[in-house]
Structures are given as C-alpha cells and as structure tokens.
C-alpha cells in the first residue's frame, strides 16, 4: 500500500500553529463568526462526518461495500427520539444507548453479511435501506408513523452564553472529536494491517492468522455504532424524526460523501460531509433535481479523476510536502529513508 511509506512528522512549532488554526476554526469561526443559520448546518455536517467515518471503516479499510448506512442512522435517531418522547430521558443519555443498539444491530447483520461477498453485500444493504421507511411507518404506535416524533432541540445550559444551535454544534463537535480520535487509534495499530491484509488478499491474511470473519463482523459493528451515534445527534439537531428522512437517498448520499471525501481518508470524511450537506442546498436553489444530478456526476468524476477522493488527494499532497521539507519521522537521525522502511517492517501483522 502506498499510504504508509513515509510518516510525516511536523516540527513542534508547525504542530502548534496547525493545532491553533484548527481550534480557532472549529471553536471560534464556525460557532461564532458565521451567520447563525449555518451553525446548525455545520452541526449536521459533523453528524454526517461521523456516519461517513463509519462507512470508511467498513468500505475503505474493511473492503466491504455498504449502501445501507441510513438504516443504522435511523436506528440511532429513533432510539433517541423514542427514549426522549416516550420515556422522558435526557437526550444526551440516549447517545450511549443508541451507540450500543446500533453496535449490536451491526453485529447481528454483519454476521450474515460476511457470507455476502462483494456485490451481494452492496445489494443486501441497499435493499435493507429501502425497507427501513415502510417498517418505521408500519409500527406507528411506537415510532409515530408517518407523522414522526417531535423531540425538540435540546436547550443550551443556562450558565453558558450560547444559543441552542451553538450548543448542539459543540455537542456534535465533542462527539465527532472523540470518535475521530478513536477511529485514528483503531487504524494506526496492528488492526490496520490486519484489515488491509483481509481486504487485499484473504488467503495470505488467513495464513498469517487473521480471522477475517470475526474481523469483518467487528468492523461492521463498529461502523454501525458510528452511524448510530450520528443518527442520535441528527435527531437532536433537527428536533424531529420521520420515516422518509431515512430513505435510500440518505444511504446513497452518505456513500457519495464517503467516496468524494476518500474512502480511506478519515480526515476526508468532513469534506465528504460538507459536500453532501451543502451541495444539495445550493443546487436546489437552481433546480430541485440538480442535487441528484450533481451527486451522480461527482461520484463518477471523483472515481475517474481522483480515485482516493479529496481527502486521499489532500493526504498525499501533505505527505509529499512534508517529505520535500524534510519533515519525516526519523529525519533528525539522518537516515529518513531507512527509518521509514524500518517503521513499516516493525508494524506487527
């Protein structure tokens, strides 16, 4: 794989500048400096980004194509909505419940999904996603049916000088940050190598002692957990859930976001999420149907022009820039290349 040959390592000063710039962007510019209606849209972007990281895990790193992630987003959303509306829970307390339920559902579905290789998994998950709205409508006594459930937006705590949309933005930001770091940690250890091996050559992976079945199921369950948390947050942002929100279009949008952002780029998830959040809004100003047309064309063009997606392209340019500047791991030892090679060989299988 070309993605880990030379690990960039920024000098401390540059790291601090980048961290400060990111902090200013996410903690000041987005919540306080842009028009207020955009703040809750950025909260949605963060929720979508969480779901897209889930797709990255299973599709990009696990190599299993899923077209039905809106089903797990729906599970998360409805868990939150039902617990808040029918049982009077605090919305924040429902996030872990949504996460656990989606994880369990992902584990149960991931098990048969294992047997569905390649195209069949794509097909099965697509059909799953088409089935979700009718099922939600059928059990209307519990889910509120076509009318949906109105859980309201959580209010900002009185001691903070924030309005409701800024507050939910910060809630989403906290969740996204935790899950982003978790995904990076999962994917920086031996698991990444094992996943890549199982994805690229199952036979070799099996010989090396990688249990593909358990690994893929666990990845699928983890990715469902991400989608469930995204759904829970989404329900809080919108303050309302209804079956037709979680239709096949949402599944396909998330897939488009994952591909456009780059399926193997965790950081690209935010780019993909912005794409699927803002493009339909801008496009529908011009024509109602333009959004789908742009999505479809973007999907095809991305794969032809930059198969690694925007995030993947960004990472590659970043790595090249770091290499040019000499900011690579072990550069101070004087042998950057040999260090990098040793780095790769030392990775446990």
């Amino acid at each position: 794989m070309s993605d880990v040959v030379i690990k960039p390592r920024l000098p401390a000063a540059v790291r601090i500048v980048v961290a400060v710039a990111l902090a200013v962007l996410f903690l000041y510019v987005i919540p306080f400096a842009i028009p207020n209606y955009l703040v809750s849209q950025f909260a949605t972007v963060l929720a979508f980004a969480i779901a897209i990281i889930g797709i990255n895990l299973v599709t990009g790193f696990g190599g299993a194509i899923t077209l039905g992630h809106a089903a797990f987003v729906a599970l998360g959303s409805y868990t939150t909505a039902i617990l808040v509306v029918r049982y009077g829970w605090s919305p924040y307390a429902t996030i872990p419940v949504a996460a656990m339920l989606s994880w369990a559902a992902g584990w149960c579905l991931g098990f048969p999904a294992l047997r569905l290789q390649g195209l069949y998994l794509a097909l099965g998950t697509l059909v799953l996603s088409i089935t979700v709205p009718p099922v939600l409508k059928r059990f209307d006594g519990f889910t509120g049916g076509v009318q949906g459930l109105n859980l309201g937006n959580p209010e900002a705590p009185a001691f903070l000088p924030l309005d409701d949309s800024q507050w939910i933005y910060f809630v989403c930001l906290a969740a996204a940050a935790v899950l982003y770091v978790a995904a990076r940690r999962i994917l920086s250890g031996p698991l990444r190598t094992a996943l890549a091996a199982a994805r690229d050559n199952q036979l070799v992976a099996a010989v090396m002692g990688v249990d593909r079945a358990t690994l893929t199921t666990a990845t699928f369950a983890m990715s469902s957990l991400y989608a469930g948390v995204a759904g829970s947050l989404y329900a809080m942002i919108v303050g309302f859930v209804s079956p037709d929100t979680f239709n096949v279009m949402m599944s396909l949008s998330l897939f488009v976001g994952a591909v456009v952002g780059g399926v193997t780029s965790i950081a690209g998830a935010i780019v993909g999420a912005m794409f699927i959040q803002f493009v339909p809004i801008w496009a529908s100003d011009i024509d109602v149907s333009l959004g789908g047309l742009v999505f479809g064309c973007a999907l095809i063009v991305t794969l032809i022009v930059i198969p690694a997606g925007i995030g993947g392209l960004g990472e590659r340019l970043f790595n090249r820039l770091c290499a040019r500047l000499g900011w690579v791991e072990g550069a101070d030892a004087g042998h950057p290349a040999s260090e990098a090679v040793r780095e790769v060989r030392n990775e446990p299988a």
């Binding site: 794509a122 399926v263 789908g292 047309l293 479809g296």
Partner: protein, 293 residues
Amino acid sequence: MTLFVSQIVDGLADGAIYASLALALVFSYRSTGIVNFAQGEMAMLSAYLVWQLMAWGMPLVPAALVSVVISFVAGALLYAAIVKPLSHASLLTVVSVLIGLYLALNSLAGFVWTYTIKAVPSLFPKAHIQLGAFSVSAETVGIIAVVGFVLLLLYLLFETTKIGLAMRGAASTPDSAVLVGVSAPVMLLIGWGIAAALGALSGILVAPRVFLNPTMMFGVIIYAFAAATLGGFDSVVGAVVGGLLVGVVENLVGTYIPWIGPDLKIIVALVLIFGTLLIKPDGLFGRKKVVRL
C-alpha cells in the same frame, strides 16, 4: 377460494413484470459480471419516453415499440461508454459508477419531466375476462401474455440462431469464443442492449399501474433484485421462475398475513434476498461458483 386464485393470478402478472426486470439484471450480470443498480432507472426513463412520444402525437403501441428499440440502443451505448472501460476496475469503482448513474438518471427524469405524476394508458383494454366462477382483468392476462411472448422470442433467439449461440459462448467462455471467431465485445454490447430492452418492457408494463414518476421503479427493482437473487444471478430460467414466485408470494403474504399487510410487503423482498444468500447463495438455478486458489 376465488380470492385465493385471483391473488395467484394477480401475483403472476406482477411476477411477470418482476421477471422481465430480473431478466434484464441477469443479462447484464451474465455478460459482464456486474449487477446493474441503475437498471430500474433506465426502465423508468424508457417509460417516460413512451409518454413523451405519445405527447408528440404517436399512438401507444408504436410509441412502446420505439421506446424498446431506443432503450436497446441506449443500453448498448451505456455498455460501450461506461461499463466496458470499467472491466478491470475494482468492485468499489464499479458499484460507485453505477450508483452515480442511478442518481444521475433519476434526477435527469425529474429535471426533464418534473416530479408531478403523469398517467400512461395501459396497453390493454379495461375489460374483464370471465372464466367460470372468477374473472381476471384483461390487463393481467395481457401482461402475462406479452412477457410470455417475449420470453419465447428470447428462447428462439438463444437456442436457434447463430447470434444466440455466439452470445451464449461469449458469456460462458469468452476466451474460447474469441478463438472461434466470436467478437466478445459485440456480444456483450448486444447483451446489455437486450437487458435495457427488457427493462423498458417492465417499465412500460408497470407505468399504468403506479403512474409515471421518477421514483416509480423503486418498488419494482427491489422485487426484481429478490427474483434474480432467488433464481440465481446467472440463470435465465431462475430469473423467470424467481420473478413469478416473488410476485405470487408477495401478493399472498400481503393478503393473508394481516400483520404484514400491503404496507409491509416490501419486507418479503428483504427476507427472500437475505434468506437466499444465507442458505443457498447461488440461488435456486444458479451455477455454483468454483474458485481456484
């Protein structure tokens, strides 16, 4: 009893429509190993084409025939322009491009013809045919007859003509077919053309029942997926039997299991797909995949 029989007959008519779309999926899968996720949307565009031709003053039957022919050409063009260049691409690329096509075609229909529903007249008269104790609508009989006739044509094409033999050869053993002088790309081109024409047939038959709108094929393609999976994605007989079975089961379940009812019938497709893939992944009639390690 009358209800039961009429449900079965209605199921067969629905099943015939699913079978033609499932056959379209099978044809493109057999020739290129790709499940065409955009098949339903292509069928939807074919149905819109009929409406457009009629709006320009063409009578229904010629409009339907012209639409089928244009769909054949469009399917062949799609293969040449998009599918053939992808023959060595990764699965993710292929799936993404087809999903992209699905989204783009769906929006294209909305863009050109707007999202308001349109009525398309049925190919068949509104009469009922009395058969002893119960009556069936002429449409039901007509749909079964038309699909049966098309299947007969396909059978004759594949079993009795030279081009049919060449197509079977190109699909089953492409390398050997090339050696005996069959142009594999041309055969695959024709395969995708036939798939699009069959899809057009299903679109034209279903349009009068559900009204014309960009999402009209959602409810059909899902059963066609189920039919093709049940029958085996590489089996022509399987697609037909699978289509009819799915149609009948869907109707009976919708009528006789009140817990499911007409709203939740769609779950039949989900259960059939997952059930087949878990118990017999190659389907009822599919060839077992053997992989050499």
